[in-house]
Amino acid sequence: MTKKEFRLANEYRYNRSGPVRWIVSHVLRYPLFPLGAILAAILNNWAYSYRQVLIGQAFDLISSAGWQTRALLMVALTLVGWAVVQGVTGLARNFAVEFIAQRIERDARDELYASLLGKSQTFHGRQRIGDIMARATEDVRMLNFMFSPGLMLITDSAMALLVPLVLIARLDWRLLLVPLIFSGLLALTVADYNRRLKPVSIALRDQFGTMNAGLAEAIAGIEVVKANAQEPREWASFARNARLYRDHFVAQGAIQARYLPMLAFTLAWAGGFLHALLLWRAGAISLGHVVAFVGLMGSLRFPTQISIFSFNLVQLGIAGAGRILELINTETELDENEAGVARPIRGEVVFEQVSFRYNGNPVLQEISFVAHPGETVAIVGQTGSGKTTLTRLINRIFDADEGRVLVDGVDVRDWNLESLRQQISTIEQDVFLFSRTLAENIAFGCADADQAAIEQAARQAQAHEFIESFAEGYNTVVGERGVTLSGGQRQRIAIARAFLTNPRILILDDSTSAIDSATEDQIQRAMRRISRERTTFIITHRLSQIRWADRILVLRRGRLVDQGRHEELMARCEDYRRIFARYE
């Protein structure tokens, strides 16, 4: 039983031991649809192929002396009947598969989403949203395509091959000779064609991608291209790509032109015709049978052509299912430690010789510092110096590989995870807001907060003023009617939210900068107010915050190169002094 933080009331249990099994268990949730689809496909192909048998009968009829019009009318009416059966079963087959395809997409997305909700914050702290999105939209759609049209066409082609064979056997079993040989030949030639086409098609597609990417780059950088007078070079590079594309295109054309299955079909058609005529001469079958047989052979043309495309879709679907399952089956490594320390946090954070690696690469090395309760700690360093990772060790999105992280003197691994996290809040650089009202966004997580409390929080966060400037005020729905909030405004909404939830430790990623001084003022005020009375870690580029922080941590390539107050750093840290030296 896996650990989960969220569970649906009546969850359907799927088999998650492998992509194919998982897909099958999804289909078997609605057993009537696949059953109906297969039955309908058999009937549909029977109706379609039986047309040829009836034509043969009609031929015999009109070839006989003194035939009755009524008899021919009967055949024609039977044809109408089978045409109706063909139409109806065709619809039934397509609809059944469509239902399966759409439901699988819906169910898989639902399953994935529920499982994502069940995963810990640790998982989400590590996962990239773009990656999850790709699986929840693209891979899930692949599952849909895999059934409609993929598996539908495969089922149908199989039936379109089998049913005529059965009908031919019913005419005279000896007639099976040529079509059976043809089936073998077909399998061989199609496999061969596929084998030859695949590498060329992939090369062609890749080359199109290369050409497109190169072109897009040249055009996006056109200012630089022109400023450096490098147009001839870009042209040469594009022409080279376009020429390579042409070469692949011609190579693909040559392979497609030599489509041997069609030649095999021609051979079978002539051979079958001869065989049927010989049987007719021997008196085994009527000329009408010959006619029916030739017609049935003709209907083998369709499955010869369609299957390649559909097998590809099925492969893509299974690959997509694999990726979705991988996400669903990912276990969270951190344990909740329910028996751990659970009590109000005062706010002391201590790092003792902390090192951390990610995928084998050292991200943080031997970090040690002490942050006292209520202090504001500014973390400064280049992109990639380990600033964000450092903060994630505090709320255990990651665990240190070496050394210890202590909160109030207790190793974070000995805290009850729930208790620890409830008292630590993070405001990301890119603040996410729901498409709900601003009031709801501020009160998210504190459903019992009343309007007065919300407004109070917004005032403290310097957000009240701009919220009131919207026509709908606090009832403005984010994202609707062109209401978009700037990064600075989103940030202040998040700060207002933090005023309501009142965490003991706050982690603020503030790497964006305001362009104008007025906005800057407001953001600064909001931040100073929220950082009072709680331990605050700020990842920032703002000199005013660095200048007045109680403690500054200077990170460079995963190492803490220096720490202390502004004055201390000015006195001993050369890199730090250079920053401020420019202002004198």
């Binding site: 009318l73 024609a76 040559a254 030649l263 200048r547 920053i579 401020f580």
Partner: protein, 602 residues
């Protein structure tokens, strides 16, 4: 061929070509391959003839064997069927082979031409047209065009086959043939009607899907926030509603699209039934033999499918023609920057003069009504002002990215319009606001403006910025791969690479559009130090967003509505208390040391 919108947005340079003009342009591209096209035409004809021959032969055979069923006869007939099929396959092979070659070459030529034309446009063109759309014209539209050519070749042989067969059938029985041919429009009508419905649901579904995808994106991005506030139940309810809606929309589209083939199957079945009966009656008179009757039966298949594919490919055909129209329009758009001469530019002092320059992006938007300015060699001039004051326009006129409408711009006393543009631009160093890096290494990117520079020169240029300490922060130094458009480097590092690129170029005139994005203070210091190194000893025009830049400039120009309102050094301007003082309060105050220090007192 009129212009078919087909849901594609048009661009201002799009034009309507007359059918004749369009065909003439297309034919011009095929002309060099006249001989190959002739081969294709012959093969198409032969292919259709052989394709018709098979069924006719079988029909004849069925009548013949009744009178002569000797073994040689049967062998002969079967051999005939085989020969016809094999010949059709062979003709088809040659046809496709040649088509692929010709189409490949034509598309290559088209792409090269359109790329060349695109590169020739000035930047006003790129401002007006999103780069994604230009890219899609050069690659995707040419692709659509080639698909259509291939499609037409295939359809042509199918149609020709129907025509040959119809003529043959007409010689057998007039009314029966008319009955058969009458089915073709029926198939077309069904297909066309269906296409309309299908388009409607597809468009609805696409719109709905876009909304739903956005909602799902929000639900997924929201998971993290929801979890930290324990709101999983609430957010799941939202997701569930979105997901169900997506299911309903998708299902409606899927079910609608899935009706066509069963309906077509039903219709063709009814057609066969009619012909079985009518044809049977015709055999009574002896005018039609049972073999001929069977030929009519086979013909139904031949008639039905080409009509359907023409109907369903009609939109593709139209799309392809409009694609070619779009490609030609892109080629024919006229460049606005025109050089009247190409005088060589060997070296530059860096003297710049604007004399009563009038400049407008378009008729409504005059940016510089009457602008005059002189910049001396080696001088650093900072431009400040609100958005739209004309700062970038001045910089971009010097790079000759835009055409101006009145007055003149003199570089070292020479008319900018008479210079060899490629040579002139070698003396200009541009640092754009968003640093742009090309796929490759840091070294490749520094070398971009001077491909012939040696490794030592590249290294020396990089060392000029903060003594090269920034290289130590790159995992492989100069050989670090920058990723797609520099994605593997931080924003600050990209700016440093762009600076080194210009340092290596050693230009006489530097144009700098300062970045507004925020960078960590260490990298920011390196960038500032690099900029100072770069500006030393050359003419520099800076669109300033950094207070320190303005302070370091020899002269600051305060612009408003395309005019210089104030002019002087930072201190002089601030003391004056005019427009600059206002700009300072809006944009620069929070960058000052006083501001930083003031926070301690709060």
């Amino acid at each position: 061929m009129g212009f078919v919108l087909d849901g594609l947005e048009t661009e201002s340079y799009d034009r309507n070509y007359s059918d004749r003009e369009l065909v003439r342009r297309i034919v011009r591209y095929f002309r060099p391959y006249g001989r190959q096209m002739l081969v294709v035409a012959v093969m198409v004809t032969l292919n259709s003839a052989a394709g018709t021959g098979g069924p006719i032969l079988i029909a004849r055979a069925i009548d013949l064997v009744k009178t002569d069923s000797s073994t040689p006869m049967l062998l002969l007939l079967a051999a005939g069927v085989l020969l016809m099929g094999a010949a059709a396959w062979g003709f088809n092979y040659v046809q496709q082979l040649f088509t692929a070659r010709v189409v490949g070459n034509v598309v290559l030529q088209l792409r090269q031409d359109v790329f060349q034309a695109t590169m020739g446009h000035d930047l006003s063109f790129y401002d007006e047209h999103p780069s994604g759309k230009i890219v899609s014209r050069v690659t995707s539209d040419t692709q659509d065009f080639s698909n259509v050519v291939t499609l037409v070749m295939d359809l042509l042989s199918q149609v020709l086959l129907v025509v040959i067969l119809s003529i043959w059938l007409l010689t057998i029985h007039l009314w029966l043939t008319l009955l058969l041919v009458g089915m073709a429009p029926l198939a077309a009508v069904i297909a066309l009607r269906f296409r309309r419905v299908a388009r409607q649901v597809t468009q609805q579904a696409r719109r709905a899907r876009a909304t739903i995808n956005a909602q799902i994106q929000e639900s997924i991005s929201g998971i993290v926030v929801a979890k930290s506030f324990r709101q999983e139940g609430a957010i799941y309810a939202t997701f569930d509603a979105n997901n169900r809606q997506a299911y309903r929309v998708g299902l409606r589209r899927g079910l609608t699209l899935n009706t066509i083939f069963p309906i077509m199957g039903l219709a063709s079945g009814l057609g066969v039934a009619t012909l079985v009966y009518a044809g049977g009656l015709a055999t009574r008179g002896g005018m039609v033999t049972p073999g001929d009757w069977y030929l009519f039966m086979q013909a139904v298949g031949f008639f039905w499918w080409p009509m359907m594919s023409i109907a369903s490919f009609w939109s593709q055909f139209q799309d392809g023609l409009s694609a070619s129209e779009r490609v030609f329009a892109l080629m024919d758009a006229e460049p606005r920057v025109v050089q009247t001469a190409s005088e060589p530019v060997e070296r530059l002092e860096g003297h710049i003069e604007f004399r009563h320059v009038h400049f407008a992006y378009n008729r409504q938007e005059v940016v510089l009504p009457d602008f005059s300015l002189e910049i001396h060699p080696g001088e650093t001039v900072a431009l400040v002002g609100h958005t739209g004051a004309g700062k970038s326009s001045i910089a971009r006129l010097i790079t000759r990215f835009y055409e101006f409408q009145g007055g003149e711009i003199l570089i070292d006393g020479r008319d900018i319009r008479r210079l060899d543009l490629a040579q002139y631009r070698r003396h200009i160093g541009l640092v754009p606001q968003e640093p742009f890096l090309f796929t490759g290494t840091v070294r490749d990117n520094i070398r971009y403006g001077r491909p012939e520079a040696s490794d030592e020169e590249v290294y020396a240029a990089a060392m000029q910025i903060s003594h090269g300490e920034w290289l130590a922060d790159l995992p492989n130094g100069l050989d670090t791969d920058v990723g797609e458009r520099g994605a593997s480097l931080s924003m600050g590092q990209r700016q440093l690479v762009a600076l080194a690129r210009v340092i290596l170029k050693d230009p006489a005139i530097l144009i700098l559009d300062e970045a507004t994005s925020s960078v960590d203070p260490f990298t920011e210091t390196q960038i500032q130090e690099g900029l100072e190194a770069l500006m030393r000893g050359r003419t520099a025009i800076v669109i300033a967003h950094r207070l320190s830049t303005v302070k370091h400039a020899d002269r600051t120009l305060v612009l408003d509505h395309g005019q210089i309102i104030e002019e002087g050094t930072h201190d002089e301007l601030l003391a004056r208390g005019g427009l600059y003082a206002g700009l300072y309060n809006t944009y620069f105050r929070h960058q000052s040391l006083e501001y930083i220090e003031s926070f301690g007192r709060q």
